[in-house]
């Protein structure tokens, strides 16, 4: 029963082993020259501005909330797409109504100004 998982186990051992050995070797063999520039947090090559532990603007949360809602609705599109042909026109209309309802919600948040950054 567990045999099928043995292959995955072997793969995992190889992966972790390779990564571990590489890291170990480079830290043993490599030279270490510490400088301020090297110890800085890496932010795409630009000098970091201020601390990373600052608060985010509340606007991000609003965007996130709206994103979660519209994102998860896409979940229903997958099972629908799988049996789309068998559902026929009925399925198309149903999904159209579903999307239409979402569209009303979208227009509502838009007009209420949730997408305006300032």
């Amino acid at each position: 029963m567990l045999k099928e998982y043995a292959q995955i186990l072997i793969l995992m051992i190889i992966v972790f082993g390779f990564a571990g050995v590489t890291l170990l070797l480079s830290s043993l063999l490599g030279q270490k020259k510490k400088s301020d520039t090297k110890l800085m947090p890496y932010e795409c090559g630009i000098d970091p501005v201020g601390t990373a532990r600052q608060r985010f603007s509340i606007k991000f949360y609003i965007t996130t909330m709206i994103f979660i809602l519209f994102d998860i609705e896409a979940l229903f599109l997958y099972p629908w797409a799988v049996i789309y042909r068998r559902l026929g026109v009925f399925g198309l209309v149903e999904m159209g109504v579903f999307i239409l309802l979402l569209l009303v919600g979208f227009i509502y948040v838009w007009k209420k100004g949730a997408f305006e950054w300032d």
Partner: protein, 482 residues
């Protein structure tokens, strides 16, 4: 593959309500601020349409959507009750929405969607539909509880209700999962058949599932010991929403309770009846005893609503045609008298809910005679004084309990009822015997007057001429008796 039969008329009420919600949200963007009252009237219009549809729908026991949804007489009774409650709540809140400068469109939309959730809970023949209905109504009401602008209590009420509500929903869902595991189905009828077939009376998976389900529903029904959120949320939420929670949510949750425990699990009643017995006793007792010491009228009504949930549980334990119909009758009576009492709290605390201490009601009786008399009638009815609705409700419940042999339960219930008389009377005494401590100027508006008159007529009629309602209630529980 076959597409399950889609019977649109079976969910006509819900479709009307949802369309109204979409219309309201749309008009909210177009209508100018000064004319936002029209949104309230549009909402009421849509609800009235749904009510007429529900009343004229004569399809009987139509089962639709592959057995997920039913439209039997039980559903119809509760649909009329819940939509009626929603209409009254909407009318009740219009004045305070205007005065509290709240977002009107969103409010009405959420009330409409919460109503749809309640109706789905009542209509569901599948545990998942019941769960989805419960969540639809809960999510809408989490938001509504925090709707008072700039009021810290309101934000806090929403916060507590959300955290505990979501916690309880997880328990409910786990209960459903375990029942699904034990019986292989989530259909009400399928569960009952499977239990009968395999004689699952002591199956641990099933019993654990039922227990978790009871915890989840107990939270929504505010049964002791799952009641700790109730007074806080009832106090912090806008009063009209408090009324909606106390009456509408409770009616829907009790309907689901009857559907699940009466419809799916009658064969293992010997397992859950004792638990419910204990829950009923502590719910009644804690509710009534703690209500004695409250100084805020919304908190007092919150504890009183906990106690009333205990009385309704007695009816469920009694069971049989008398018991089940008494439960439905009580839900109706409770709706009228409680909506009336909350209506007066809304009206009297008009601006930002200023006058919600019981002491503020001093002198109400002689300064506003109609309001005082109405409040006294609602409170007497809640206390169970004849010949009002509350008395008949309690009478039916307790006589059902005696008929089923629950003598002690009845004695405890009646004793509790006597205790409750004390705190309801205290408010009346303060209204009529004490000098007013502050000046309150009230302006009657059309919506609130309609609310009070409907509630008064209902409270008195259900007490004096109960037969009309009782026949409806008896008719709607036929499926349970079989």
């Amino acid at each position: 593959m076959t597409i399950p039969d889609v019977n649109w008329t079976s969910i006509g009420t819900e479709l009307i309500l949802i369309s109204t919600a979409v219309l309201v949200i749309f008009f909210d963007l177009v209508v100018k601020d000064k004319k936002k009252d029209s949104l309230g009237y549009l909402t009421v219009l849509g609800m009235l349409g749904a009510l007429v549809f529900a009343m004229t729908d004569k399809e009987g026991t139509a089962i639709a959507f592959g057995g997920m949804i039913t439209n039997d007489s039980f559903t119809q009774f509760l649909t009329v009750l819940i939509v009626g409650v929603a209409i009254i709540v909407t009318l009740m809140s219009m004045q305070s929405l205007r005065e509290g400068s709240m977002d009107v469109g969103g409010y009405h939309t959420l009330v409409l969607l919460a109503t749809v959730g309640m109706l789905l809970m009542v209509k569901g023949l599948d545990l998942i539909i019941i769960f989805l209905g419960l969540e639809t109504l809960s999510i809408a009401i989490y938001v509504l509880a925090g709707y008072r602008k700039g009021a810290e209590q309101s934000a806090e009420a929403a916060f507590k209700y959300f955290l505990l509500g979501a916690f309880a929903a997880a328990f409910l869902l786990y209960g459903i999962a375990l029942i699904y595991g034990a019986t292989g189905t989530t259909r009400i009828e399928g569960i009952a058949q499977y239990i009968a077939l395999k004689n699952l009376g002591t199956n641990p998976l099933l019993l654990l599932g039922v227990g978790l389900l009871l915890v989840g529903l107990g939270f929504k029904l505010a049964l002791v010991p799952f009641h700790s959120w109730t007074p806080d949320v009832y106090e912090g939420a806008p009063t009209a929403i408090t009324a909606f929670m106390a009456v509408g949510v409770k009616a829907a949750a009790f309907a689901a309770f009857v559907r699940i425990f009466g419809g799916a699990l009658p064969l293992i009643a010997f397992q859950w009846k004792d638990v419910l017995w204990m829950l009923a006793v502590i719910t009644m007792t804690v509710g009534n005893v703690v209500a004695l010491s409250q100084t805020n009228i919304k908190r007092m009504l919150a504890y009183s609503s906990i106690a009333h949930a205990g009385y309704i549980l007695v009816g469920i334990i009694a069971g049989g045609s008398v018991g089940w119909s008494a439960v439905l009758y009580y839900l109706g009576a409770y709706a009228f008298m409680n909506l009336g009492a909350f209506g007066i709290v809304v009206f009297y605390g008009y601006k930002q809910e200023a006058n919600v201490e019981i002491a503020d009601y001093a002198g109400l009786g002689f300064r506003y005679p109609f309001l005082g008399a109405a409040m006294a009638i609602f409170l007497f009815s809640l206390a169970g004084i004849p010949p009002l609705a509350g008395f008949m409700g309690k009478f039916y419940i307790f006589s059902a309990a005696i008929k089923s042999g629950y003598i002690w339960l009845t004695i405890i219930g009646v004793m509790n009822s006597l205790v409750s008389v004390f705190y309801y009377f205290r408010v009346t005494v303060i209204m009529y015997m004490k000098e007013p401590i502050k000046e309150v100027v009230l302006n009657y508006s059309l919506p609130i007057t309609i609310v009070l008159i409907i509630a008064l007529v209902g409270t008195i009629q259900m007490g004096i001429a109960p037969n009309f309602y009782l026949e409806r209630a008896l008719d709607s529980i036929k499926w349970l008796i079989g």
